[in-house]
């Protein structure tokens, strides 16, 4: 639109009125349509979630539902333990996964000899393609028994098992995006630091990582989104008990696991309560993304 008005302002005397650019308009519309697919999908999902989930909020009350601690459909719909479980498992995964991922990214971008990087990088990329049910099975037969032995507890299907599986699952996303953003930095950053007498490691931690912060944070945001939305692997390793976990060595059920486990048969107000679980999840993701965008903006300025 803008370009059209500019043309008519500056070029009006130089050439006759141009023929209407049919092809240009067509592509213009095509681009708009494509851009709208995502937005429209999100709007539809949100509308659908709210229209299905509101009856539960209306019957049980927002406070009862969000802060209630007992999930006993069709009588009580407290999802607070699941909110806690989702948050702990996600932040645990970020706490373990992100440092490993950033260091791996630095290693791949700066330190690794070519032959080693050629082994590590495809391995990481392959990790991204493994279906989550396989991660779940790996967790069930390796991590769960390992936790039983290490902590000497009767059952290893715990929050901790979920945290470890999620930490592994977010690695490829964070590594790939962080590595790309470190590589995208202009070489003068590093050259300048080295010329000023900084050591290689010093320049990595004080110059390169801060400079690539915006890209790394994007990677972390996507990692968080993956962790909070993960369902299948979590169902297999976390025990799914809908009670408030007393520690990370107790079973717990996340918001997504709650929806996936009960959606197939739930009817009436129970189904509605599951949709309201979805609303809560959606709000969380919006808040997380907004928070990260804010931090990102602040760090750039």
């Amino acid at each position: 639109m803008n370009t059209c008005t500019k043309n008519s302002d500056s070029g009006i005397f130089l050439r006759p009125t141009p023929k209407p650019d049919r092809l240009g308009t067509f592509f213009h519309l095509l681009f708009i349509c494509c851009a709208m697919v995502g937005v429209v999908s999100l709007a539809t999902i949100a509308w659908f979630l709210f229209s299905e989930g509101l009856p539960a909020f209306r019957q049980a009350g927002v406070i009862e539902l969000v802060f209630g601690s007992e999930w006993l459909p069709p009588a009580l719909f407290g999802i607070f333990p699941m909110i806690v479980a989702s948050l702990i498992s996600t932040f645990g995964a970020v706490l373990i996964g992100v440092p490993i991922a950033i260091l791996t990214a630095v290693f791949l971008a700066e330190l690794a000899p070519k032959w080693l990087a050629d082994i590590v990088r495809p391995a990481v990329e392959l990790l991204a393609g493994i279906p989550s049910v396989v991660y779940g099975f790996f967790g069930l037969v390796v991590i769960v028994p390992a936790i039983e032995v290490l902590f000497n507890i009767p059952a290893g299907n715990t929050l901790l098992a979920g945290v470890i599986v999620l930490a592994i699952m977010i690695l490829p996303t964070v590594i790939t995006i962080s590595e790309t953003s470190i590589r995208a930095l202009p070489p003068v950053y590093k050259e300048g630091a080295l010329a000023l007498g900084a050591s290689h490691i010093y320049s990595i931690f004080k110059v390169l990582i801060p400079a690539a912060r915006s890209g790394i944070l994007t990677g972390v945001a996507l990692g968080i989104a993956r962790a909070i939305g993960e369902t299948m692997a979590i169902i297999m390793v976390m025990g799914n008990a809908p009670a408030m976990p007393g520690s990370i060595l107790e079973p717990a059920r996340t918001l997504t696991a709650n929806i996936a486990m009960e959606m197939s048969y739930a009817t009436g107000i129970h189904a509605s309560a599951l949709y309201s679980t979805g609303i809560v999840l959606l709000i969380f993701i919006v808040l997380l993304n907004a928070g990260l965008l804010y931090i990102n903006k602040k760090s750039v300025h």
């Binding site: 007992e70 769960v144 009767p154 059952a155 299907n157 169902i235 799914n240 809908p242 486990m261 048969y265």
Partner: protein, 270 residues
Amino acid sequence: MKKVIGLAAAIGLMTTSLVQADSTITVSGSTSVTNVMEVLSENYKQTAGKTVEVQGTGSSAGIRAAKDGTSMIGMSSREVKTNEMSADTKGTVIARDGIAIAVNNSNPIKNLTKEQVAKIYRGEVKNWKEVGGENKPIVVVTRDTASGTRGAFEDILKLKRKVNGIKVSAIAATAQVGNGNGMVKTIVANNPFAIGYISLGSVDSSLKALAVDGYKASDNNIAAGDYTIARPFVLLMKDDVNKEAREFVNYILSDTGQNIIVNEGYIRVN
């Protein structure tokens, strides 16, 4: 626009004729019944040449599917409550199944009373010592609320309580939840402290079925009514369901069908 409508109509005609020619019988519901239903459908395809599509969605979903007509036949692995039925839906019992109380092979315990099992699941008993076992904690494994096995288990052991006038499950909220017979089996087979309940037909050497009130979980004891944690497998159909579905149910109730049920480890009704 006309062309598009014409095309859509043509595709519609083609697909409907395909469906009619194929005459697939659709069955959905209990995951416990699905096992035996898949074997029955394979045999039925060989003898009668008709395709049966089986989907395991849980008993409650199966009952609903039969009532709505989304599936021709609904499967339930528990008694169907009267308020779940509509006037034109009928149930047929095709087999009986015991629910085995399963523990890990390394657990020395052999027998529990129904009362003890109920207490373990309510969370009142937390150590194997209290029911005559070793001094070890009990890891309770249950099924998701969709499961007919859980519904039948709660009904038989009276694991129900009332909250705000609505009946809800009394199984402790801290119990681990497995979403399927297979997952409960994996957890119990790998955890020496675990107790779970699964369909008797799916018990194998990876875990151990306990005797309840002194009676082993065997077909004879269930048929005689001594082993009391047992339930029916019910198929639900609408009165106006098509001929193919009705013939398939008759096949299951015939001698051939009932023999397949026995081979799969369940108890025949005819």
